[in-house]
C-alpha cells in the first residue's frame, strides 16, 4: 500500500485543478469534490499506517530533472512519523471541510475557498511524505502560499489583506533562514536526500560548527512557520481568515510543519553542538510562557486560542529542545485534534453568537448543548486533566524535561501549564457559564456539530494510546529507529505536579470567572501590562528597522539618479552629436555612395591581397 502514498497527495491537487478550471460554474458542488478527494486520502493514509505498523520504512524515488551534473530526485519516505502525520492532516482537513459547508454557506467565492483548501492539503501531504529536503522546501513554500491565500480570503477587508501580507512576509523571513540552511547543507553534502544526509552526518565528515549552523538555520525556518518567539506576531493577526481555516492551518497542520521539520532533521540537531538544542528549548519555553501570559489578557475568543496555539507549539519546541523527540511528536498529534476541536467550537460559537468578543457571550452551554460539551472536553484535555489526551502528552514532555535535567525549563513549563489551564477555563466560564447574554443564540446546524463530536473522540482518548496504561505503544511506534525507548516507570511525581498545576489553574479561574467573586478586572489589568511587551515592543522594533532601510534606499535613489543617469544621458548626447555629423554624409547623391563603395572595395582588395598572398 505504501507505494501508493503519492496518490494521497495528488488527489487534492486534482480536486484543486478541477475546481480551478470550473471556478464559476461549480459553486457549492466544489465542497463535495474537495471532500471526496481528502476522504479518499484519509482512507489511503490509514492503509499506509497499517502497512507501516510494523515499523518498516518505505522509500521510493524517481529522478525529477537533470540539470548538467546535478540530478534532482523526487520521491517518498514513509516512516511511522510520516504515516501518523498523514492520518492527522487528512482527518483534520476532512472534518474542517465538512464543517466549512455549514460555516461558509452563502459565501460568494466558496469554490475558490475549497480550491485553496485542497491545494493546501495537497502541499501539506507532499511536505509530509517528502524524502528529500528540496521537495520538503518546495511544499513548505506552497503551504506558506496557501496560508497567505486563505488568510486573505476576504481580501475586501483591509485588515484581512494586510494580515495575509504580514503572515507571508514574517514566515518568509523564517524561510530565508531555512533556505540558507538548505544551501549550506547542499554545499557540504551535495545531496538533499534524508537517508544520504543521515549517512554523511553519521560518518561525521561534517564539522560540528557547520552542523550547528545548519541546525539553527533550520530552526529559524521552523520558528517562522510555527510562530516561535520573535516571529510569532503573524499568527494572532492570521485570525482574520475564516475560522475553519484557522482551525486547519493555524492550529493543526501548518504550524506543526515547523515542529515536523525539526523532528525530521533531528539527527542534525543531535549531531550538532549541544547549544543548538539549548537554543531550541529556551526559545520554545520562553515562547510558551509569553504566549500563555498574553492569552490571559485577550478578549477575542480566536485570539485567545491563537496565543494558546503559540504556547503549545512552544511546549513542543521545548520538548524537542530537551531531546524529547517522541514526546514532542505525541503532543503535536494530540494538540492537532483538541486545538482543531477548540477552533471549530469557537467557530460555531461565533456562528451562533455572531460576535467574537467573549464578554458579549455568556451562558451559551444552555443554548448550544453539543458545542458546549465538546468545548469542555477539549478545554479539559488542553489543560491536562488525567484521562484526557492533553494530560498524557504534556506529562510526557514534563518527564522528558525532568529527565534531561534542565529544571529551569521544567519550572517554566509547569507555570505555563498552570496558566494554560487558567486562561482556557477563563474562556470556558465566561463564554459558556453565567447569565445568558443574548437570547437568540442558537445551536449550529448538524453539519457543523457532527465534526465536533467526531473530533471530540480522539481529543479525549488518543492520549491513552501513548499512556503507560497501554505500555507507551504510541511512543514506541514513532520512536526514532535505533533509539529504543526504555519503558520508563510512570513518573508519578511528575503526574501529580502537572495535575496539581492544572487543578490550581482551574480553581483560580473558577473563583475569578465562574462565580465572579472578585472583580476580575483588577487582576486582569495587572497582567495586561505584559501584553505591552508583545504588541508594542516587537512591532516597534520592526517599524524602526523599516524606517532605517527607507532612509538608506532614498539616499541610494538620489545617488543613482544624479550619477548613473548622468553617465547614460552623457553617452547618449555624445552619440547624438556624432550621428548628426555623419548623417550629413548621405547627401542623397547616389554616385557619391557608389564612389565610397568602389574605394572601400579597393582597400578591401589590397588588404586581402596582402594578407592572403604574402
Amino acid at each position: 500500500m505504501a507505494q501508493y502514498a503519492w496518490v494521497i497527495a495528488v488527489m487534492p491537487v486534482l480536486a484543486f485543478l478541477i475546481i480551478l478550471f470550473t471556478l464559476r460554474r461549480i459553486k457549492e458542488k466544489a465542497a463535495y469534490v474537495a471532500i471526496a478527494a481528502t476522504g479518499a486520502g484519509l482512507l489511503l493514509s490509514l492503509g499506509v499506517l497499517a502497512t507501516v505498523w510494523g515499523g518498516r520504512i518505505f522509500t521510493y524515488q524517481t529522478t525529477w530533472l537533470t540539470a548538467g551534473k546535478l540530478t534532482l530526485k523526487i520521491g517518498m519516505y514513509i516512516d511511522p512519523l510520516a504515516a501518523v502525520m498523514l492520518v492527522v492532516v487528512t482527518t483534520v482537513s476532512l472534518l474542517v471541510q465538512i464543517y466549512s459547508i455549514g460555516y461558509m454557506k452563502g459565501e460568494k467565492r466558496l469554490s475558490w475557498y475549497y480550491a485553496a483548501v485542497s491545494l493546501f492539503t495537497a502541499s501539506m501531504l507532499s511536505l509530509v511524505i517528502a524524502n528529500n529536503f528540496l521537495q520538503l522546501y518546495i511544499s513548505w513554500e506552497l503551504v506558506g502560499l496557501c496560508s497567505y491565500l486563505l488568510i486573505g480570503f476576504w481580501y475586501e477587508k483591509k485588515s484581512a489583506s494586510s494580515a495575509a501580507m504580514k503572515a507571508f512576509i514574517i514566515t518568509r523571513i523564517g524561510d530565508v533562514g531555512f533556505f540558507l540552511g538548505l544551501a549550506l547543507l547542499f554545499v557540504n553534502t551535495h545531496t538533499f536526500d534524508f537517508s544520504a544526509v543521515r549517512q554523511i552526518v553519521a560518518a561525521g565528515s561534517l564539522g560540528a560548527g557547520t552542523l550547528t549552523a545548519i541546525a539553527l538555520l533550520f530552526f529559524a525556518g521552523a520558528a517562522g512557520k510555527s510562530a516561535q518567539f520573535p516571529l510569532h506576531v503573524w499568527l494572532p493577526d492570521a485570525m482574520e481568515g475564516p475560522t475553519p481555516v484557522s482551525a486547519l492551518i493555524h492550529a493543526a497542520t501548518m504550524v506543526a510543519a515547523g515542529v515536523y521539520l525539526v523532528a525530521r532533521s533531528f539527527f542534525i540537531f543531535e549531531a550538532a553542538h549541544p547549544a543548538a538544542l539549548q537554543v531550541v528549548a529556551g526559545i520554545g519555553a520562553f515562547t510558551a510562557i509569553l504566549a500563555a501570559v498574553i492569552a490571559v489578557t485577550m478578549t477575542d475568543i480566536k485570539k485567545v486560542l491563537a496565543y494558546s496555539t503559540i504556547s503549545q507549539l512552544g511546549f513542543m519546541m521545548a520538548a524537542l529542545g530537551v531531546g524529547g523527540y517522541t514526546a514532542a511528536i505525541f503532543h503535536l498529534t494530540t494538540h492537532a485534534f483538541f486545538k482543531a476541536l477548540l477552533f471549530l467550537g469557537a467557530g460555531s460559537v461565533i456562528h451562533g453568537a455572531g460576535t467574537q468578543n467573549i464578554y458579549e457571550m455568556g451562558g451559551l452551554l444552555k443554548k448550544m448543548k453539543v458545542t458546549g460539551w465538546t468545548f469542555l472536553i477539549a478545554t479539559l484535555s488542553i489543560a491536562g486533566i488525567v484521562p484526557l489526551s492533553g494530560f498524557w502528552s504534556k506529562d510526557e514532555i514534563l518527564t522528558e524535561a525532568a529527565k534531561s535535567g534542565n529544571y529551569i525549563i521544567l519550572g517554566v513549563l509547569l507555570v505555563t501549564a498552570f496558566l494554560t489551564a487558567f486562561y482556557m477555563f477563563r474562556l470556558y466560564f465566561v463564554v459558556f457559564t453565567g447569565p445568558v447574554r443574548d437570547e437568540h443564540a442558537h445551536e449550529s446546524p448538524a453539519v457543523m456539530t457532527y465534526p465536533l463530536l467526531i473530533l471530540a473522540v480522539p481529543a479525549a482518548l488518543l492520549g491513552l494510546a501513548g499512556s503507560p496504561l497501554l505500555g507507551n505503544w504510541f511512543t514506541k511506534f514513532i520512536a526514532l529507529p535505533g533509539a529504543e525507548h526504555i519503558a520508563a516507570a510512570p513518573d508519578y511525581l511528575m503526574m501529580g505536579l502537572s495535575t496539581a498545576a492544572a487543578l490550581a489553574g482551574i480553581g483560580f479561574s473558577y473563583v475569578l470567572y465562574g462565580r465572579r467573586a472578585v472583580t476580575a478586572w483588577s487582576v486582569v489589568n495587572s497582567l495586561s501590562s505584559f501584553s505591552w511587551l508583545n504588541t508594542t515592543f516587537v512591532d516597534k522594533t520592526i517599524r524602526d528597522g523599516l524606517r532605517v532601510t527607507l532612509g538608506i534606499s532614498n539616499g541610494l535613489a538620489r545617488f543613482d539618479t544624479r550619477f548613473v543617469d548622468g553617465i547614460v544621458n552623457g553617452v547618449g548626447g555624445v552619440i547624438g552629436t556624432f550621428s548628426r555629423y555623419f548623417s550629413r554624409a548621405n547627401s542623397g547623391f547616389i554616385q557619391r555612395y557608389a564612389m565610397r563603395f568602389v574605394i572601400a572595395f579597393m582597400l578591401l582588395a589590397v588588404a586581402v591581397y596582402f594578407v592572403l598572398v604574402r
Binding site: 548623417s583 547627401s587 542623397g588 547616389i590 554616385q591 568602389v598
Partner: protein
C-alpha cells in the same frame, strides 16, 4: 597566341572605364550604359579564362551566356525604372534625383 595577361589588362581597363562612367555621368541612362560596359568587361575576362584555362569544359563560356541573358533582363528593368523616375521628376540626371537625401 595572345597571352592571357593581355586579356586581363584589357578587361581591367574596360572595367575601370565603366566605373568612371558610373561615377561621373549625370544622365542615368549613360550610367546604365557604363554598367553594361562593366558587365562586358567581366564577360571578356570569363571568356578569356574559359578559352585559356578550361577549354574542354567551357565553364566560363556557359557562365557568360547566363550572365548576358540576366544582364539583358537587368538593363530592361533599369531603363523601366529610369522612365518611371523621368515621368515622376521630369529629369533623368542622377544628381537631381536625391530622394534619399537625409
Amino acid at each position: 597566341m595572345v597571352p592571357l595577361q593581355y586579356y586581363i589588362i584589357m578587361s581591367a581597363i574596360l572595367f575601370t572605364i565603366g566605373i568612371y562612367g558610373v561615377l561621373a555621368r549625370r544622365n542615368a541612362i549613360l550610367v546604365l550604359l557604363s554598367v553594361e560596359i562593366m558587365f562586358n568587361a567581366v564577360n571578356i575576362n570569363f571568356m578569356a579564362f574559359s578559352a585559356y584555362i578550361t577549354p574542354a569544359t567551357m565553364v566560363g563560356q556557359i557562365y557568360t551566356i547566363f550572365a548576358v541573358a540576366s544582364g539583358a533582363a537587368e538593363i530592361g528593368i533599369g531603363l523601366a525604372i529610369i522612365l518611371l523616375i523621368y515621368r515622376g521628376r521630369e529629369t533623368v540626371n542622377v544628381d537631381e534625383v536625391n530622394m534619399l537625401k537625409w
